[in-house]
Symmetry: D2
Subunit: 371 residues, 4 copies
């Protein structure tokens, strides 16, 4: 067992999720590398000190540079806003540290490219936080696709819709100001990453985007919304499969409708993160009259489930995804192997995001190769 000093930048929603995961990952997976929560960074020194106590870190700072300068911090988890990712990650790599970065990878395609390039050049372990792909049922989907159980994929229908801005009176915030925090910038990377992982590279897209509510209540009256609320796009995969994907932050009633329907030549899979412990599986090889979508409840025989619970159907949640992510990051550090999603994978997602945006603006099909 080898302790591994971790620095965490960011103490919001995702910062806390990572702190919790770092504290339980060792016992859950009996990992050889054991995270030691060394130093945490928040926007102020006081805030950081407070969070260090709450989240169980040994020391704290109001400056991320202090984490990088700290020799006991061997790996950095970046959970601060996208606009900060690039600078922090580059400095971390320069200091020889492994880096885990929350999605999206930076606030622009340029950021993502710079970060992926530096990661490759540094040969240091790196990973992007597309956590949903680690839900056991999504891992199972990948396993079944790779094993050929549904034959060749012919069609994909997917969605990532949440309704956190469905109310027109929801106020303007960081979510409505920066392109990288909009619907396309913030939500779409999750489902795009899933599609790349499950169905392979995308060749071209055609998209439509929309800002449904053009202003939102601000501190001084209505404030203009500077990014999109919803987007649809068609895509063609390199394999020849085609698909249609919808992403929205204003889809009334959707809470975490990160879902996909994948049709193959021999079967089909359906997943919806609102019921993340189920993968629906249609096996076209069963006898006529006995075919139907089967509700596979996650169980110890499925990927990464058994470490959380020995009972089938007992369920894992969002937190478990982050713990699995932590295990994978530790494993990447231990083995020096690239474990997806790496920064390179994050860059591929960013290229597609850029293509969707251009397709919308220029009202045409756009090849990913343009980026």
């Amino acid at each position: 067992m080898r302790p591994l000093g971790i620095g965490l930048v960011g103490t919001g929603y995702m910062g806390k999720a990572h702190a919790v995961a770092l504290q339980s990952v060792g016992a859950v997976f009996n990992t050889r590398f054991r995270p030691v929560c060394e130093m945490i960074c928040s926007t102020t020194a006081e805030g950081a000190a407070c969070k260090a106590i709450e989240l169980g870190f040994k020391s704290s700072s109001g400056h991320w540079q202090d984490l990088i300068a700290n020799p006991r911090v061997e790996a950095l988890v970046i959970a601060s806003p996208p606009t900060t990712h690039r600078e922090i990650a580059l400095a971390a790599f320069a200091a020889g540290k492994a880096v885990f970065c929350e999605k999206p990878l930076g606030s622009s395609l340029e950021d993502a490219r710079a970060m992926a390039d530096m990661a490759a050049a540094s040969k240091l372990p790196n990973m992007v936080g597309f956590n949903y792909i680690r839900a056991p049922a999504v891992q199972l989907a990948r396993e079944m696709i790779l094993s050929g159980e549904i034959g060749e994929i012919i069609h994909v229908r997917a969605e990532h819709t949440e309704d956190f801005l469905a109310d027109p009176q929801a106020p303007a915030s960081w979510r409505t100001r920066d392109v990288s925090s909009g619907n396309l910038g913030d939500l779409s990377p999750h489902i795009i990453n899933a599609m790349l992982r499950l169905a392979g590279p995308i060749e071209r897209v055609v998209a439509q985007m929309q800002t449904v509510y053009s202003t939102r209540p601000g501190a001084n009256g209505p404030e203009a919304v500077r990014n999109d609320d919803q987007a649809d796009f068609l895509c063609r995969f390199k394999s020849g499969a085609i698909g249609a994907i919808t992403v929205s932050r204003v889809a009334t009633g959707s809470k975490l409708r990160y879902c996909f329907d994948i049709a193959g030549t021999k079967g089909a899979l359906r997943f919806d993160a609102e019921d993340q412990n189920t993968l629906q599986y249609y096996d076209a090889g069963l006898k006529p009259g006995r075919q139907g979508f089967s509700k596979l409840l996650t169980a110890p025989e499925h990927p990464d489930y058994g470490a959380f619970c020995e009972g089938p159907g007992h369920g894992t949640g969002y937190s478990a995804q982050i713990v699995i992510e932590a295990r994978d990051f530790l494993r990447a550090i231990e083995t020096h192997e690239a474990i997806s999603p790496t920064f390179e994978d994050g860059l591929q997602v960013s290229r597609i995001v850029a293509a969707i945006s251009r397709s919308h603006t220029e009202e045409r099909w756009v090849r990913i190769a343009e980026f």
Copy 2:
């Protein structure tokens, strides 16, 4: 109570469905006009005679012209292949008969336009068989949308997928030979009609289509498939709403996934014909923590349900849709009012089908106004 002589052309799947509906519609809805099954037409005189006995018609013929010439036939139901629709319908109008025509309206946009023009000129009752729109839960969806219960529609996600040709070994047939019988020609009109009915006119589309299995077993070895297997398209509605729609006849596992998710500013609706007695409704106006998609089971307080059964949740099926259709056709004849979907409505669907096809060929957004 007034008897109304009906002629039926076609004795296949839909012909039988209409025959059954004609015989029960009077008792179900206590209609003033009561259908009398006068004459039935099949491809041969012998076949027709046989079907007349089976399906309860007084007389029969191997020529549709005989039905039109029969003065006791006051209204014609056309359930023969799309390529025959135009000629029969035009002759029927010319003879002053009301016409109900199965979807799609003819085998091309030209057919649809000629039929709609003649229907308008004749001022005779006319209707197209987009039956799914008449399922009580779909009617309820429309009622709720019109009443403003979900506010303004901002997004539509819809699908009409079935898997009747998902098996690559399914043989070539009429379904794989004519454009009007392909996936776009045959399946898409249903869901397009639903979208027009529920979300209003469409302004433009961008589409991708695909023939997944380019040949299928024929009488003398592999036979080329001459139409599409699957299609996706994005659309923009006149109202400003946007949407994404998928249509497939090779979507493994889908049986009648005629489904839609409609997000409005105040709520949302979800429907799937595989569970046609349910409409899912999300009311954003309920108090926090008590909001969720509610499973509205069709009941006597919903449109057209009570005539079939006084008990809520007891369910109606495909047959009931055809009975409701028959009631509407009788009502159109009785009242001389246009009851949707008329031939004009069918033409609007055909224009969109044509736009989708062109969008695919020319790989660009196509305005419906081009047609």
Copy 3:
């Protein structure tokens, strides 16, 4: 094709349902015997005359004796209140007519016994209207059980709950006055019949019953409710299987929760009439990690579905159950074979109802053999 004159007693909910079914059954199933709607009986001559026109009968009467005296009436459908069943059925058998009687079979165990005895003695075709057993998915369940697909049944959990009297302000009516119209008398026979049909004879029961709302608004103030609102019972089947069943007319939110979970040694089945086009099937023989309840959507390869629709998943409803029932009654008349549920089957249900009632009163396990 042979016409068969039918007399119908009762023009309410079930009377109409049978009238509609009689008019479409011939075309749906291409039956050799074709029902001719000869004579209908309602409580008044005027009402009956009116219903004859509405429901398509040739003649009418305010006295059921007239139907029995009518030589053109070859078979009688009894859809009048339970208290009238015995007298009418006995007279019909005496006149040599086939009899279909709505459930429950008379208003008491004595009625049921007298009716079953007379049916047996007469050797005339007879049937009881436990319609839900004829839903294609329920027929499929029986087919799968008989074929051994789920092995031996070890446990049954079932329910028939509706909420038509869940509102304490729902007024007193015939439903609250007679024992045979109470929750146990009126609802339980359906699910008991299903259990007998699917899991075999029951040996003993222990029950608890309750009148939740002891009075209901009547014409002159509160009126006492004279029958039960809800009941639970445990049962032991002759096969050794055990089970627990709940029946309620006050189960808030249940519309037609006629449902069962049947666990066998090799698999399991689940059905809920609120989604009557689905049978859920768990096959314990599938490989680990790929086992799950599979949603079998009714389709042409399942019992009696294809006559209604050639498309899988297109759905049948309550009306189809009545049409299938009519087909079975015609077949029983044509073949002189007993087709379940016969009056004898109805009697077995009544014996269990009586045992449940006694178990409740005497607060003990009761053997069915006591009756």
Copy 4:
């Protein structure tokens, strides 16, 4: 922030679950008392030493007495077999330590009574591990019931079925040897506890139990199964409500069907742990035609959800229940308030288990007051 030394007895399924929970509860809930994993006990000293490293404990022992003797162990978590509970708990209380004990509370009613008595006498914090009650959706159910949202409870239908012994070839094990490890002893306490918590005290029961597979493969051929496989019971609550409950370890296809349907005078609730992030809610007060079971996805506005994730619908799993349990245990220690389920609550469950067992043996209704 105050560190609190914990000793853990047992390193199996539940031991690990508690170890993980102890390590994350502080960061998740920002608790004032922070668990320090002091000492762990397994059946051998070597095993314990190994587990201490894996699960993050400071020291270890092969004797539970060492944990009790350790002054740094302020609270004990007992996750060893039921037959060991009594002795350990009593010794712990005698040493002045707070005790958390896994369910069932000892291996007999006598054990439970002795433990509850000692807990009461000691006035030390105590708790039983009925974890499912802490799933946020179950907590929400309780909150809604207490607030009167569904009115008065009139009926309960519940189940705890799993299929871990559904295969007749599953070998004999500790699960098949001791009464406290049988279906009634091991599984039923969970759902009985839930019913007591949600619907209040039970007055009497009538039950049937069954050992479906009387022998199972043992080391030397077939070995007799000494406890039950499945049980059904009816119950009457003190409130007047009635119910039916099924418990099984051989219910083919059930994985964690810990479910309940609770009907009240104003609404109803349905829960199934196989989809633990959903509570279905029927509000009879909504307007006609808009009533239906609503799928409430757990969210930050529901009990204890927000600490795990700020996003609604993102889901919590089995692990979160154990973390919530740990928080409650810490809170009980901090506040000296009894937090349910206490040992006294565990005793109430054991009384009902005893009554069910007697009811089965004596084939009669049994009042809980007999115990």
